[in-house]
Symmetry: C2
């Protein structure tokens, strides 16, 4: 059997530690191509680059060829990688390992998840993987878990336009208490802005905020991760609110 | 009764023609604040700015104060506008009028829609409006239609986390054949890249592509607009693929 072709990307940039651990762990699974943003592109959501040309740079890590850096977003990397760098569309895309959780409302801001979503739009089975810490960078368990899940996805496939969004708690492997199939929570940040004045006397603002838990139950992505379990959520970008359609028809919206 | 507080934003930038027409049309409806990106932010998806400070600039148009420009994305404008510029959270957010359709798969790349989505996350009823042409800029009908729909939304409210995504065909008003409540189509672009060499001998790529129609039926957003009808789709950012959860549980995903 031909070895599967696997595209690895992320949103923390090609020099981040998470993509390195992931790539090392996946080596046995197929022919690996790394195509990732040259610089960090966190919270870019599903941005694509239409107004600027894209460039590709070959990047070494640890003294060896590692992959291709693109001056664009994670979604750009998936498009350009599949069409111009890899010999054909990949059989699997794995995006990560992201530093910081991509659960609940954060999923829609996530460049990591958007790369996987881009894969599913192209009909390629895709996985997004994150660890739930912005500071700790212990990726070994998450990398090993990704590899196991990648094998299952290669074997079973995924439904149309559906990706798996994986979030791993940031605790030592022996403290992880299981794996739960979850749904996307509603938890979000209560926005706040830190207003400051720069040395030239001009005002500027930093986005900040407090995390709000808005769900309960045993199958919510962010709550499961807080319980030291791995969360696996099937994500599908069908955004229609079907349950509201009949009601909306009754509004009697007119032409003018 | 107190006049409703309305936040208007877009992704084409505060100097675009569409946001000007929209703002003029909405004047009678409430107290209007325009908070929009300083420069064009098309196809930024749901990007937010975490790594850079945000600044606010007061902008005049046609010799009068028009609104506040932010050096960020549409989602940034909604957050910063609501928390730091408006006296309180708005009663309604209208994003547009975008130059170019935001239907089918394009919805997930759209900065216009992401601004409205940000509103719904904050619990504010929100509408996104686009016209289906990148070149024609006749916004009068779309502005009038937005105003009518805004009144209905202020009166009826919207379900939790649900926005209305409006796409208006780019034809004269007397050729528009009706309004249809629609769902998001699956149509997407078949990616291609135009590979070129710059004057310094370096390779670069432009993203391009051919539009693919992947649906049929009378209630699909992009098809309805092609039939010269206005499409109104209720959009909800609940991304869980609920129908796949039971199947995924059977995969027996292990810890290692």
């Amino acid at each position: 059997m031909k070895k599967p072709l696997i595209l690895i990307t992320n949103d923390d940039g090609i020099y981040a530690p998470g993509i390195y651990s992931l790539t090392q762990a996946m080596q046995g699974l197929g022919e690996i191509f790394v195509v990732a943003p040259l610089v960090e592109k966190s919270a870019v959501g599903h941005a694509i680059t239409l107004s600027d040309p894209l460039r590709v740079l070959e990047v070494n890590r640890e003294g060896k060829f590692f992959g291709y850096a693109v001056n664009g977003t994670p979604a750009d990397c998936v498009k350009l990688g599949s069409k111009c760098i890899l010999p054909r569309n990949p059989d699997l895309i794995v995006s990560g390992i992201n530093q910081g959780p991509n659960t609940a409302t954060n999923v829609i801001y996530s460049g990591t998840v958007s790369a996987a979503a881009e894969g599913t739009i192209m009909g390629i089975p895709s996985i997004a993987v994150s660890i739930a810490s912005f500071t700790k960078s212990e990726f070994a368990f998450a990398a090993k878990f990704s590899c196991q899940l990648a094998e299952l996805v290669l074997k079973n496939g995924l439904p149309e336009r559906t990706l798996l969004n994986v979030n791993v708690p940031a605790v030592p492997e022996n403290e992880i208490e299981g794996v739960v199939i979850t749904r996307q929570g509603k938890g979000r940040y209560e926005e706040a802005f830190d207003k400051r004045v720069d040395p030239n006397g001009r005002t500027y603002y930093w986005l900040t905020g407090k995390r709000m838990i808005l769900d309960n139950g045993n199958d919510i992505d962010d709550l499961v991760v807080m319980q030291n379990k791995v969360s696996v959520t099937p994500i599908k970008y069908d955004l229609t609110n079907y349950s509201f359609i009949e009601e909306l028809k009754k509004w009697n919206i007119k032409m003018e």
